[in-house]
């Protein structure tokens, strides 16, 4: 399953890039699984995703809960809670 990931704000800074393509294993079924997989993958992931409760998700342009399934997803954005206005 190839996924195009995009990072924003401090998630982007800690990952050291704004986007990347990844091939997570089949066991990564939900956004939460993806966050845990990225956190375990390397040091930058561990820094960016140390607190999964502070991570929000958009799948193919739609904001979703972190329990959302990734089946059929192409683009996943991972970011902190928004602070506009």
């Amino acid at each position: 399953m190839a996924l195009q990931l995009a990072y924003f704000a401090w998630v982007r800074e800690r990952m050291g890039c704004g986007e990347e393509q990844v091939e997570p294993p089949a066991s990564v079924a939900t956004a939460s699984d993806l966050i845990a997989w990225l956190a375990a993958r390397d040091d930058r992931g561990a820094r960016a995703f140390a607190e999964p409760a502070r991570i929000r998700v958009a799948i193919d342009g739609q904001m979703m809960g972190n329990d959302a399934a990734l089946a059929g997803a192409r683009d996943v954005a991972l970011f902190p809670p928004v602070t506009g206005g």
């Binding site: 704000a9 958009a58 342009g61 902190p80 602070t83 506009g84």
Partner: protein, 146 residues
């Protein structure tokens, strides 16, 4: 008419108000959000998503138009770098009656703070930068509209 804009350039209140409503709608409520100058902040940077930020604003505008009679609605959010005192966000809501215009304006700014992909980063006088944390009070106000 609904007008939604995400822009890097400055927001000019007078120009936007004239464009929003030539005066025929009865009541126009406005909200102007400006960069705070407290806490020694010298610059505010607004990060956004190239597509989803504008779409999120448009979704909110349509949600407001479904809820109240709003013949004219303008929602403009600035992104990029700005200085204390500059306008970050402008909401203009017009209706035949003031109660609807005021309610829609409040709804839009409350929900904008929790529903739209925008992130604030503050730079201080010593050059240090910090990402702004979401406020519980903002979350509670936004949820009050559910």
């Amino acid at each position: 008419m609904i007008r939604v804009v995400v822009q890097v350039g400055a927001i000019d209140f007078a120009t936007e108000t004239d464009r929003h409503d030539a005066g025929g709608h009865g009541a126009t409520a406005s909200f102007v959000g400006r960069v705070r100058g407290d806490d020694g902040v010298t610059q505010l940077f607004l990060e956004h998503h190239p597509q989803m930020t504008e779409r999120g604003l448009a979704d909110l505008a349509h949600a407001a138009a479904d809820r109240w009679r709003l013949p004219a609605l303008t929602l403009i959010h600035r992104v990029g770098a700005m200085a204390p005192g500059e306008t970050i966000v402008l909401v203009l809501a017009s209706s035949p009656h003031r109660a609807e215009a005021l309610a829609a304006c409040t709804f839009l700014i409350d929900r904008l703070k929790t529903d739209v992909m925008l992130w604030k980063r503050e730079t201080l006088a010593d050059g240090a930068a910090r990402w702004v944390e979401p406020r519980t009070a903002d979350q509670e106000r936004a949820e009050g509209w559910d």
